[in-house]
Structure formats: structure tokens, C-alpha cells
């Protein structure tokens, strides 16, 4: 077994490169490893292409910090707050700098990552017909369904292959094998399409915990480059069965990021002034404890015995 455990700062330093196409999360509002968002900001990565269907406020934070050159996805904002102020400033006023926006819908970025993961030359879809997304993003091509006797337009979606996918999971072993439960959005497609995968695990377990249930594996370890143990590393996003969403945190970010100075102060407080993920957890203190899911509603047993 090849050991892949390292600190998140090492993983980001070694595996996220300026200009990379990066996925953080891809399960929409859950399991977004914000710890990686913060670390990327701390290390001052530049010109990243952020790929996601919806990644709650993560993309907005990165845009404001000047890390992002392009957005390839369906949505950038703050799910409970509303608009993304940094996204607005970048798109409307080039603050902190201009941004390439490659418009997708959730389903079309999904099929793009599916095609990337499984080697399809492209994916033909029936969605975004009639939408200006077809016009504002030149990546799509129009075609006619050759299997239809009538003229039936279809949209061809080219594959998207991220350089790096960073995913939050409930548990992983030292070789990167991992378990995930709850809705997964596009996390598996994003990981399997990516060249490098970083797993941010709430818990590190022995290999036999993961191998006890191979149908719960999100990404097999042989596709994983690094495993980082960051308890509550998805905060303020939730993680099924582990952590509640910290909606107040999102709302506070939304209010303070309304202007540049407020955003910078927020960034100083929550990213630059804390020492990595452990410092962040320490700063959260009791607030984090309150978000911890204490109850126990275990999945029914599943037997894998073979004799």
C-alpha cells in the first residue's frame, strides 16, 4: 500500500499549480472542502479555472482573493445569502481583475465531467436548447440527432477534464480509499475526470473499514494522489451525518463581502490570521462543537461475507 497522507498545505503546494483547472467539492452545497479553499488563498495560487456546478461561496471567496482566472460552471454565489459580491465585482468592474466566464447549466457541466471521466468524445444533450448559454459559451456545438426522422437539434457538450479535484469525504484510509454517503452531485465524475485527486477526510480509518464496504467507495485509492486529515474540513458546508451547515457563517461572509474592504477584513480574520486548518478549528471553538452531529442513525447492516 502506498501511503498518501500529507498535510493539506503540502497537498495544495505540490498538486495545485497556477493556471490549473480545479474542482473543490462538486457535490453542490455539501462536502465542499473549504479548508482547501482557504489554503489555496493562503498560498496565493493564481489564474485558476474553477470548475463546478455549484460550490456555494467557495468560488466567490477565491475570486475575491485574486486566485481565479476563469469560471467554468453553472453558478457562483452564496446559497443562503444570495449574490456573490466578489463574483459581481470581478464580472462588472474587473475587481480584483477580469474573469473569463464559461457558462454552463448544472446538467451540462455534469455531462462534460462525465465525458471527461469516462472518455466520451463529447456528450449530446437535450438541455440548454433555447437558452442563451449556447450563445455566450462557444464551447458548445449544435448538431442534429441522426437517429431522428424529424430535424431534432441537440447540443454537443465537450469533455471537461480538471487538473485537480479536491473532495470532502467522511472517511479515508492512508492509501486514499474512501467512503462517502449522502448525495454526491458530480463528485465522482469530477474526481474520475481529474488528473490528480486530493481527498480531505473528516476521519482517517484503517484500510479494513473501507474495504468492508466497497460499494460505498466514492473514488478508489489508486486514483487518489493525496489524503489530508482535516476534521470538519468542509466547514461551513455540511457533511452528511457529521457536520451541520453553518448558515450564520455564510450570512456573515455575505454581509461583510459586500464591499472590498469588508471582504479583505473577513479574509484577514478567517484565512490569513489563522494557522491553517487546525488554527481555523481552534478559532471556531464552541461554535464548531455546536455544529457537530451528535446523534446516531446508523445505516442498516450489509453483509459481504463470502462463505
Amino acid at each position: 500500500m502506498i501511503e498518501k497522507i500529507c498535510s493539506l498545505s503540502d497537498a495544495v503546494r505540490d498538486l495545485v499549480r497556477d493556471g490549473d483547472g480545479v474542482v473543490i467539492g462538486a457535490s453542490l452545497e455539501t462536502a465542499i472542502p473549504f479548508a482547501a479553499t482557504y489554503e489555496i488563498i493562503r498560498q496565493g495560487k493564481k489564474n485558476l479555472e474553477m470548475i463546478a456546478p455549484i460550490s456555494d461561496a467557495s468560488t466567490d471567496m477565491l475570486i475575491g482573493a485574486g486566485c481565479v482566472g476563469a469560471v467554468t460552471g453553472a453558478w457562483v454565489g452564496n446559497v443562503s445569502g444570495g449574490l456573490g459580491h466578489n463574483y459581481r465585482r470581478a464580472a462588472e468592474k474587473q475587481i480584483p481583475h477580469a474573469l473569463d466566464i464559461n457558462d454552463y447549466s448544472n446538467f451540462t457541466i455534469g455531462m462534460a465531467l462525465f465525458a471527461g471521466a469516462y472518455g466520451l468524445p463529447y456528450a449530446p444533450v437535450r438541455s440548454i436548447l433555447g437558452s442563451d448559454i449556447i450563445n455566450s459559451n462557444p464551447a458548445f456545438k449544435m448538431a442534429t440527432n441522426p437517429f431522428s426522422t424529424e430535424t431534432e437539434p441537440v447540443v454537443l457538450v465537450p469533455p471537461v477534464k480538471p487538473d485537480v479535484a479536491i473532495l470532502g469525504v467522511q472517511r479515508a484510509d492512508a492509501a486514499g480509499n474512501n467512503h462517502y454517503w449522502g448525495s454526491s452531485g458530480l463528485a465522482q465524475e469530477a474526481a474520475l475526470a481529474a488528473e490528480r485527486v486530493i481527498i480531505v477526510a473528516d476521519e482517517i480509518v484503517e484500510p479494513d473499514v473501507i474495504s468492508s464496504d466497497p460499494s460505498r467507495v466514492l473514488v478508489p485509492g489508486f486514483r487518489v494522489a493525496a489524503v489530508c486529515h482535516v476534521p470538519a474540513g468542509t466547514h461551513p458546508a455540511p457533511l452528511t451525518g457529521r457536520w451541520q451547515r453553518d448558515s450564520a457563517f455564510f450570512n456573515d461572509y455575505h454581509a461583510r463581502s459586500r464591499d472590498v474592504d469588508g471582504y479583505k477584513a473577513w479574509l484577514d480574520e478567517w484565512v490569513f490570521a489563522v494557522e491553517g486548518a487546525p488554527g481555523y478549528a481552534k478559532k471556531l471553538g464552541d461554535r464548531l462543537s455546536a455544529l457537530k452531529i451528535a446523534g446516531s442513525r446508523n445505516a442498516a447492516h450489509a453483509n459481504y461475507a463470502a462463505e
Binding site: S27, L28, E29, T30, A31, P53, I54, G73, A74, W75, V76, G77, V79, S80, L83, G84, Y87, R88, A90, A91, E92, D103, Y104, S105, N106, F107, G110, M111, R126, S127, I128, L129, G130, S131, D132, I133, N135, S136, E152, P153, V154, W181, G182, S183, S184, G185, L186, A187, Q188, E189, P238, L239, T240, G241, W243, Q244, R245, S247, I293, R297
Partner: protein, 252 residues
């Protein structure tokens, strides 16, 4: 008659759009509460889907801030990926889809991307999320909006989510086989497409508002539908169900 807020009326109007046994793309905020009310009243066999990958029968027991919150995962009918649930849309299996919007026009086209258009961005909105998919591929689309003149406009500056596009035959010309907005539920009224052009008409005015006021607050020359009426006030059974779903009185 029951006492109710404007938002409670909107929720109940939305709930009435869901039919029993339907597969519903639920969305967050107001529609998820509407789904809960429908399940408890006339649509006990409706099924709700959330684009993150959740499918549920009974709505979650706690207040949700996002569709992916732990409470929406627990006791779900199915937690899976986005393609599995949105694939049901593309396969034509979703009966009713709900979306919101910042800007809608008289053909029911919705903009959640660029006010001013993408070449001349005045306000950058978050983008489609799943809205373009839900609008193109649900059999029946229900939009929820605040009724303001700047939001209900003659022509949206960018179509994120297609309604009837240019009116008569607009969807067919774009290659969309089915669907289109069936109702736009605002805080003042319900608009519905009417006639072969499918232009949105005033279908019912909420109690306490007048047709003139609604027309005044609409950015195009809003016509009234034949048989225009008052939106029926919530009934007792509907309000009881709503209070069961909205335990904390968030919408009161």
C-alpha cells in the same frame, strides 16, 4: 377565513400546482414548503427531486437552508448523483419543476445570469445552476417571483431558462419538445400563458390586490386572461398542512 401572510398564500398557490403522483423538481425556499403542503393535502404520492442528488417522499423534518443539508439526506428515498436525478428531467419523467428568477419576460423567459446581457454586464447574477435544465426539460414549469416592474420586463436581456422564447412555436423552433411555464406565482398575482402565443396573462389576483395594481407593477402591457378571478384564499386544511410543514413559522 384563516389568517395568512402573502408568502403563505404564494406557498399554497404553488402547492396547488402539484398533482398527485407527480415527480416534482423541488428547488429550495418557497417551493420545498409548497411540496410539503401538497404531500399533506391533495398529493400524498408526489415525489420530490433535488438536483444535488436527493429524492424524497416525505419532506425533511427540519428547516433546510440548502437542499444538501443533513436533514434532507436522512430518510431520503434515494441519495445519488446529479446525473441520476437530472437525467430524469432529460428523460421526460419530471412533471413539474420550480424555479425562481431575477427577471422574467412576457414569454416566460427567465434571466438569472446577466442583467444587461453577457456582452454588456450590468449586474452579474449567480447563473443557471439547474434552472436552465429544469426550464427546458420539465413538462410544466412554475416560476416564483417578486412582482416588481423591473423584474417583470418586456424582454429579458439574457435567457438563462427558456420560457416560450418568442411566443408561438418558440420552443418547438428551438428544438424543445415539451413543457414551458404553466404559472408564474408572484406576491400579487398568478400569471399564466394564454392563447397560441403563450403570452403571460393575468390569471388571478391575490386577495387584497387589484388587477390595476398588478398591471401597473408589470413591465409589459399585461393582459387579463378570460375568466380572470381572485386567487382563492388558503383553506383550513391547507393552512393546517402549512403549519405542520413550517413548524418554526419562517413564512408567517
Amino acid at each position: 377565513m384563516a389568517d395568512y401572510s402573502t408568502q403563505e398564500l404564494m406557498i399554497i398557490a404553488a402547492a396547488r400546482e402539484i398533482r398527485d403522483g407527480e415527480l416534482v423538481f423541488v428547488g429550495m425556499r418557497l417551493p420545498i414548503t409548497a411540496y410539503g403542503v401538497a404531500r399533506l393535502t391533495h398529493a400524498p404520492n408526489a415525489v420530490g427531486m433535488f438536483e444535488g442528488g436527493v429524492t424524497r417522499y416525505a419532506p425533511a423534518e427540519e428547516t433546510l437552508y440548502t437542499m444538501c443539508d443533513p436533514a434532507n439526506q436522512r430518510n431520503a428515498a434515494w441519495t445519488t448523483g446529479l446525473i441520476q436525478v437530472m437525467g430524469h428531467l432529460q428523460a421526460g419523467r419530471v412533471d413539474t419543476g420550480f424555479i425562481g428568477g431575477a427577471e422574467i419576460d412576457k414569454w416566460g423567459n427567465i434571466n438569472t445570469s446577466y442583467i444587461g446581457g453577457h456582452e454588456n454586464v450590468q449586474v452579474k447574477l449567480p447563473g443557471s445552476g439547474g434552472a436552465a435544465d429544469i426550464a427546458a426539460m420539465s413538462k410544466r414549469l412554475i416560476a416564483i417571483m417578486n412582482h416588481e416592474k423591473r423584474r417583470l420586463v418586456e424582454r429579458v436581456s439574457y435567457i438563462t431558462s427558456p420560457g416560450y422564447i418568442n411566443g408561438e412555436g418558440g420552443r418547438a423552433k428551438a428544438g424543445i419538445a415539451v413543457g414551458g411555464p404553466a404559472a408564474v406565482i408572484t406576491d400579487k398575482a398568478v400569471l399564466r400563458p394564454h392563447g397560441p402565443a403563450n403570452e403571460l396573462h393575468l390569471s388571478s389576483v391575490h386577495p387584497g390586490h387589484t388587477a390595476d395594481e398588478v398591471i401597473e407593477n408589470t413591465g409589459w402591457e399585461l393582459k387579463t386572461a378570460p375568466g380572470m378571478t381572485e386567487t382563492p384564499a388558503p383553506g383550513d386544511a391547507e393552512m393546517t398542512a402549512l403549519h405542520q410543514v413550517d413548524r418554526e413559522g419562517f413564512w408567517r
